[in-house]
Structure formats: C-alpha cells, structure tokens
Symmetry: C2
Subunit: 413 residues, 2 copies
Amino acid sequence: MNSPRINQERLWQTHLDLARIGALPDGGCSRAALTDEDRRARDLFAGWCREIGCRVSVDRVGNLFARRDGVENGHPPVACGSHLDTQPHGGRFDGISGVLCGLEAFRTLHDHGITTRLPLELIDWTNEEGVRFRPGLLGSTAFAGRIPIDRVLATVGTDGARFDAELERIGYGPAGAAPHRLDSFFELHIEQGPILENRGARIGVVTGVQGIRWLEVEIEGVDAHAGTTPLPARHDALLAAARLVDRARAIGLDAGDDARVTVGRMEVAPNSPSTIPGGARLVIDFRHPEGATLDRLEARLRQAASDAADSSGTRARIAKTLEVAPVAFDPACVAAVQAAAEARGLPSLRMLSGAAHDAMQIASVAPTAMIFIPCKDGLSHNEAESATAEDLGAGCQVLLDVLLQRAAKGAVA
Amino acid sequence: MNSPRINQERLWQTHLDLARIGALPDGGCSRAALTDEDRRARDLFAGWCREIGCRVSVDRVGNLFARRDGVENGHPPVACGSHLDTQPHGGRFDGISGVLCGLEAFRTLHDHGITTRLPLELIDWTNEEGVRFRPGLLGSTAFAGRIPIDRVLATVGTDGARFDAELERIGYGPAGAAPHRLDSFFELHIEQGPILENRGARIGVVTGVQGIRWLEVEIEGVDAHAGTTPLPARHDALLAAARLVDRARAIGLDAGDDARVTVGRMEVAPNSPSTIPGGARLVIDFRHPEGATLDRLEARLRQAASDAADSSGTRARIAKTLEVAPVAFDPACVAAVQAAAEARGLPSLRMLSGAAHDAMQIASVAPTAMIFIPCKDGLSHNEAESATAEDLGAGCQVLLDVLLQRAAKGAVA
C-alpha cells in the first residue's frame, strides 16, 4: 500500500482534547445533540478541519460536512465520518472515533501534500444517539431522504426544546444546503461488543447491520394480597413476565450465533412487595441479519408470550413497536476494507453490526461499509468505554487506505 | 344465644357515611394516617361513640378508645376494633368494618339497655396501613410496648411531616394516656383473600397469623449493548431475576397450601430496551404459620437466588429486610368465635391470616382472636374491595355474641 502512515499519537491527543467537552468525573462524556456541549465539540472540530484547508458546511438538519477538494471536483465525494454526540453517561469513542479517524486521515494527506482524484468529505451526523431528540440517527436518516426534513426540524426534545430552535441557537442552521450525492461512505466505529477482543482480531470488516424488531408485551393479571391469596388462585403478571424472559433467552440461543434476544426494560405494577403484581410490561429487542429468521423469531416470541400468560392465569397483549430491516453493505466497499486490513497485516474478522449506525441509513443512497475496532470488554454506552491508541491507529490507517483506494486512483502528489 | 340482634341496615349505612370521607371516584377511599381525612373520620367516629354514652380517650400515639362501662369497672375491658386509615387507593371495608361492627355492637347494647359485667372498649388503632408513616401497625405496636413511644412520635412520614406534629395538628395528641391492660381483644376484618368465598363459608375463625419474611435480592451483572453482545457472553441481571421469580413460585408450591411466596416488587437498571440490564433488585415476600417452615423456605430461596445468579453470570446479594414471627391466637378466644358462629348457624372455617393485623401485636399483651368475613374475589388494597351487607351483619353479630360471652356472664338488663 502506497498511502502514508497516520500519526497515532496525534490521533490519541485529538481524542483527549475533544473529551474535555462535556467531560464526566469517571472519564466519560455527556454531549447530547444541539446542546452547548455539542456546539463546542462542533466548533472545535470545524476549526481543526479549516486549519487543514477543508471547507465546512452544514445541511438543513445540522449535519456537518468538511470537504477536501480533489482533482475531479464535479464527482460526488468519497465520504467518511460518524457522530460527535454521546449518551448521557457515554464514552470518548462511540461515534467520536469515526469522526476523529477521518480527521487524522485528512491531516495525514495534508502533511504529505496529497491531492486525491475524487474529492473527500468528512461528516459529523446530527443526533445519532437519540438521547435528546427521538429517534436516533436523525441526521443521517434525513440525509438519506427517509424522513421529511420538516418533521426532523419540528422534533421536540425530552427537555421540551424544538430541534430547529436549538440548531439555530447553537449556530448550525437550519438554513443549510439540501442533501447531496456521495460516491461512497465509510464509517469507523468501536465494535461495542466483545467479539474482536475475544478472537484477537484488530479490524472488524462489517458486512451489514442486523435487522432489529421490538415486541412490547403488556401482561394483565389481578392485583391481590401477597399474604392471603393461595398460589394456585393467583393471576401474577410478574410470574408471566419472568417466564417469558427465560423463554426468550432459550429461543434466542436456539436461533444460532447471530441472534440477539434481549429484555432490557421491564416495569411491574403496582410494584409493592406485599401485592401480587396485576401488571407487567416489557420490551423484547431481537436482532438477526436475515429477515426470514427475524420472522421466525417473532412468531416464536409471540407464542412464548402467550404461553407464559396462559401458564399464570394472565393475558398478554403484544405490539410490534420497532422494525428495522437488515442492511447488507456494498460488496466492493466491504472488500476494500478487508483488502486494506490484509495489506497492513492486521488480523481481521468479517462480522455484522448488532447496533444501528448512521451507515445503515447512508447505505440506502451510497455504497457503504464500516470498519470496527475492538473496545475493552465490549463495553459502550458507559463511561468505562475504552479503546487503545494502537487499535485506533490501526483502524484509522485502514480508513485512510480505503479512502485513497476509492478516491485516489491516479492520486497526484 | 341470648344476645340481641344487630341492625344490619344501620351497619351498612354507617359504612356509607364513613366512606364519604376521602372518597375516591371508583368507590374507594384514601385516608392516610393523621391527615385531614383521618381527622374527619376520627371526629365522626368519636361523635357516634359519645352519642351512645361512651367515654372517648386517646393514648400518646393517637390510638382512640371508646369505653363503655360495665358493672365491674376495675377489671380491664373486653376490647374490639381495628383501624380507620386506608391505603392510597383503598376500599371501604379493610379495617373500617372492624371498627364499625364494634360500633354497631355497642349501639345494639345501647338500644337494649344492656350493661355488661366487664367494661367494653372499642379501639381505632393509629396508622395500621403504614402508607404515610412506616412501618404499619404503629399504634398497636406501641400499645403492646413493642416499639418505644418516642420513636413512634419522631417518625417522619413520606411527605416529610413528623408523627407527633401531625397528631397534634389534627387534635389527637400527643398528650394522651399510657397503655392500659385489656381483658381480651377481638378484631373483625375482611379476609383479603378468596378462601371463604370459594368454600362458601361466612365466618373465618382465625387461629393465628402467618409469619412473614422479606428477602431483598440485588443482582449485579454488566450493562452491555443488546445488539452486539452474543448471548453466551452476557451477564444479564434481569435473566437471573426472572429465573429466581419462577423458581420462587415452585418453592412456594412445594411447601404446601399454607405457604405464600410472592415477588411483588422488581426494579431493573438501566431499564432501557437496547441495553442488557446490569442490575435488578427484587423483594421476595414469603409467609407460613410455622417458624421451621419459614426457615426451610428461606434457605431454599437463598439457594435459588444464588443459583439463578450463577446460571446467568451475575452475582446476588441477599438481605433479610423483614421478619415477623408467626402468631397463634388465644385458644379460648378462638373457641368463642367458633362457638358463636355455630350457634348462629353460620358456616365457618378455621383459617390463618396471611396478612398482618393489629391483632397480631395485641396478642402479645392480651388474649386475642380475629373474625374474618368474605370479601368479593378476595380483593383488597383496591377501590374495588367489596363485602356484602349480609356478611358484614353476620360478622357483626358474631362479634357482639363473643363480646357478650366474654364480658357479660351475669350481664344485667
């Protein structure tokens, strides 16, 4: 590979510098979209981009584009990026590393005075986390034309603030440009799971994103006195919920290594120690890369909810509250990532993304792929989220190599 | 039986009159202890008692005593009663019927000009429900000398108000008399369970109260991303909790008809659909009339918590947060209740109380028994709580008969 070496120390220092904005006591960050912290992160990032000669622009929903001209500037840019917003107790890498590795790649090109054939673009997508404004992935979804811009602008945040007013307030819109075409899009991200670490791989070659569905199950029993009601006479909603949780796990294991089945939210009513619960509500989150398997999982989970209710004298109402189809990334883009990892001698692993990412949305309008790097213990959405300088450097190098491979055939020094 | 007939219609009307205080839209009542509603209920009740010649007094914790003199007034009184406070969405019968049936018994004696040999006393115990001031049974526990009066007076309510200040504010203390001796105590109460209704019995002859223990189980796993973390790599605290709930049910069934095992409260953290829960906390409430069985249940439930944690890669911390020993009522008092029911031709059933009652505390200082009457579908702590005028009348009659049997050998007309 002829592309230059990125500067691992500079990349790490850039992470440290950005992590000061919205810093939390245990090493994490809190930067919800369109807050003052988001503004400061955007300002710092935009300044860095301008220092290396990029033109910075904003679209109508606040997505931030740093453009690096090439030779054939009429051609859509080869793009990379991710997001700078975080979870309320988020880390320093989720999303951020995708943006900062892009910046380090651009800085390396700048250091070496390289002009690519095609233009390049580095993107910070607005409100990926969906913490303040729901749903997440709002910026990339709007860019892909999958949600009306006006609906995004009218979104009201958890604090009552409107998206467009907040965008205006922090100085990033909403008078920006309409969406434009991309030649391709590459998103580097921490894996947010333990697979790379466990298998000793350093680069995840992401072939697609799992489909996600949510079944919301509401169980209706009868409140009754815990001391007086014999066990066989009960209509215990928590018992039904508990049986469903255990059964859902078994159904997930049965569907193979790629299946994910999780009950992460459960509420019990009236939630008093001496009252048999008459109500329970839970959400089953299940994911798989194949639609047909999702269908089978859904059928089995619905049956399990119904069986759990029957077994405890309660009734279950089931509603599907989320359905995201699986996404397969562009084979050429995926192959480019794999080839770059191999050329650098980095152990890689073809894998699926279990989490949703902006790349999922962009894949509908441009050839797309993702690069995963390991994160300690698979943790994310947690202040303890951690990636090493070496892994960040390796992922950044692969990203630069891929950008050059895609944009710079005939690159001129 | 020579005792006069109680007036069923008057008893029912008294229930309706009292239910206007703190009335809720669906037919229930909200009268937390020492609130303005409690004051109004006390004032109304005390007025009724004075109308029939009773002397009303208050002790230092606000327990209300309506004394009806007999012939031998140096002898401790034969007492009855229960409580007028309610759950936040309580009914019109839980506790209240025990007080109002006592009132109807006294009114009947008054109507017939009967003076008993021993004096009688009708008691409204303070703060039985434990909704505003914790724990429940505060008034009867203090009367029985099982908690220091000063500690009761210093109790701070869920709304930040102090017990003694509120007692003063509503005009019921805290300058009252010290506890006095009782000849005996009889508490009529709705069953709060379905057993009488299901077996077609009209009088529950309560032989004792089950012991109660609470195990609070805190499960510690690891928060992780629902989409990225393979099932075998998880440390899912909710999965452990769910398995424990199901196992606790089986352990309860295994311990026989008298065992009650309930998980009524569960909290999950962080309780987000797309995060594997790293934390879960639940309370296991278990009850049985025998201490040895409670010990065995406790050992099995502790083991089950530990097993459930092990099976899901989590850790369980277990704390016993409540332990109430079983109470056996006085055989002579119990026999008197049974004899009265039989003499009136009322189908009766010897049974245990699964719930705690003031009588549990009073049993430690005076011969005590309880009379249960059926309630619709076993419901209580619920606005839909319901008892029929006929069942109330039957229970009231048994109460009067028992009071006369105990107090009035040699009653003079």
